[in-house]
């Protein structure tokens, strides 16, 4: 069928209704359902359509878009079940990211992906708490404890254990609340770079979905040292995500994902923090087993 873009007024041919991008001006537009129309109308809808609902788009059973794009299992959770939808999506992102991201639709509300990534982060936080409680964050505090004649070394060690646990748990719990903000900031920076180098043709929502669905490896980031590998794999997944959802090449996707980190490393902060955390983690794990 033919549709007219309400913004640039150009007419183009499409084989579906619903939210899509004008091939002339690149703007996201909502093509109305033709008489006796298909299911896709309003799949992304307005500001709240499909938000955290897991409902398939109105109008019938969701089918694949041209190019094999379809809703993720998580976005079909009303149909397949919440746990299965969540786990299937996680499995796909981890095990076959290239295939998965090539089939993710860019036009579904990004809040669905954010919700999924938030749960991943929550799982990581819950799994981190016992380790933090064991005092594995001692690396962040001085190892030479101040001596006090009124307090025995055992008591001081116990106090320090509580302090370090709180020192680690506080930021972790804070990150749970702030996760959506941090994800939006991360994706905004990534999309800004993508736009500058011409790799953001499917819009901000697509970048946000790539960013969030690449969070799968963070489930393992509570494990000391493995956390670093999980972070690296998440970066790799973001590159696949940008390639698949934004339909760009590997070079542009890599630049979009890595350039912000390179700039951060220029400032020295990220490198210092990352390296410091690694060394501190190793030292903390060692001292933890010795002291506690």
């Amino acid at each position: 069928m033919e549709a007219r873009c309400p913004r640039c007024s150009n007419v183009f041919t499409t084989d579906r209704s619903g939210i899509q991008f004008c091939p002339h001006c690149g703007q996201q537009i909502d093509v109305p359902v033709p008489p006796g129309g298909g299911w896709g109308a309003g799949a992304a809808g307005g500001s709240g359509a499909g938000r955290f609902s897991g409902e398939p788009p109105p109008g019938g059973t969701p089918g694949a878009l041209p190019g094999g794009r379809d809703l993720t299992p998580w976005e079909r959770r009303r149909e397949v079940g919440v746990v299965k939808g969540f786990f299937e999506t996680w499995k796909l992102t981890i095990a076959s990211p290239q295939t998965f991201f090539r089939t993710v639709r860019p036009d579904v509300p990004w809040t669905e992906a954010l919700f999924w990534a938030w749960i991943i982060h929550a799982i990581n936080v819950v799994l981190s708490l016992p380790l933090l409680g064991l005092g594995l964050s001692t690396l962040m505090l001085p190892q030479n404890l101040p001596s006090n004649p009124n307090v025995s070394p055992e008591q001081m060690a116990a106090v320090m254990k509580v302090v370090t646990a709180a020192f680690g748990i506080g930021p972790v719990l804070g990150s749970l609340i702030l996760y959506p903000l941090l994800a939006i900031i991360g994706a905004a920076v990534m999309h800004l770079v993508a736009m500058i180098i011409g790799a953001g043709k499917n819009g901000w929502g697509a970048t946000m979905r790539a960013y969030c669905y690449a969070s799968g490896p963070y489930v393992f980031s509570f494990i000391p040292c493995v956390g670093l590998l999980a972070w690296i794999y998440a970066l790799v997944l973001r590159i696949f995500g940008m390639m698949g959802i934004q339909e760009t090449d590997g070079f542009k996707a890599t630049v979009s994902v890595l350039l912000p980190w390179v700039l951060l490393c220029c400032c020295g902060a990220a490198a210092a923090l990352g390296f410091g955390s690694l060394i501190a983690g190793l030292a903390g794990a060692g001292s933890g087993s010795r002291s506690f």
Partner: protein
């Protein structure tokens, strides 16, 4: 270049994400003494004596949020300009969300986009040259 208008709707988009990013960054610059943190230093400059392209960004952000615009632009002109644009994005994003404003959206042609990218690269090079001259001349 084609000028299009965004729909009059309350929908969180890229502009709002940029505004939120800018607001968060400027709030951190205002209330957290980042430059005084022991980990906050330029490894590149420490080892080579030459500044990196990002040197001066912290000072620029700090200058902006404390109203010392001259200092901000002298520290890193492009960084200060980016900070101003982030702040502008935050204001426009709030206004758009509150009043459902329709905003103009310029869509450049392929040639214009290429020229824009070239201009950005040149601006980055010029900014880096400015930072290097300032540092090597001992102005900071």
């Amino acid at each position: 270049m084609t000028l299009t208008w965004t729909p009059r709707e309350r929908r969180f988009g890229f502009l709002h994400a940029l505004g939120l990013t800018g607001l968060s960054g400027l709030l951190v610059a205002r209330f957290v003494p980042v430059a005084r943190l022991p980990i906050w230093h330029c490894v590149f400059r420490e080892h080579t004596g030459w500044p990196c392209p990002g040197c001066g960004l912290t000072r620029a952000a700090d200058g902006l949020v404390h109203g010392r615009f001259g200092f901000a632009f002298a520290s890193n002109p492009l960084g200060a300009l980016a900070g101003c644009l982030f702040a502008f994005a935050a204001v426009v994003a709030v206004a758009q969300y509150a009043f459902r404003l329709s905003l103009p959206m310029p869509v450049p042609s392929a040639r214009e986009a290429r020229l824009g990218r070239m201009g950005l690269v040149m601006a980055l090079v010029a900014n880096y040259a400015f930072v290097i001259v300032q540092t090597r001349a001992g102005l900071r």
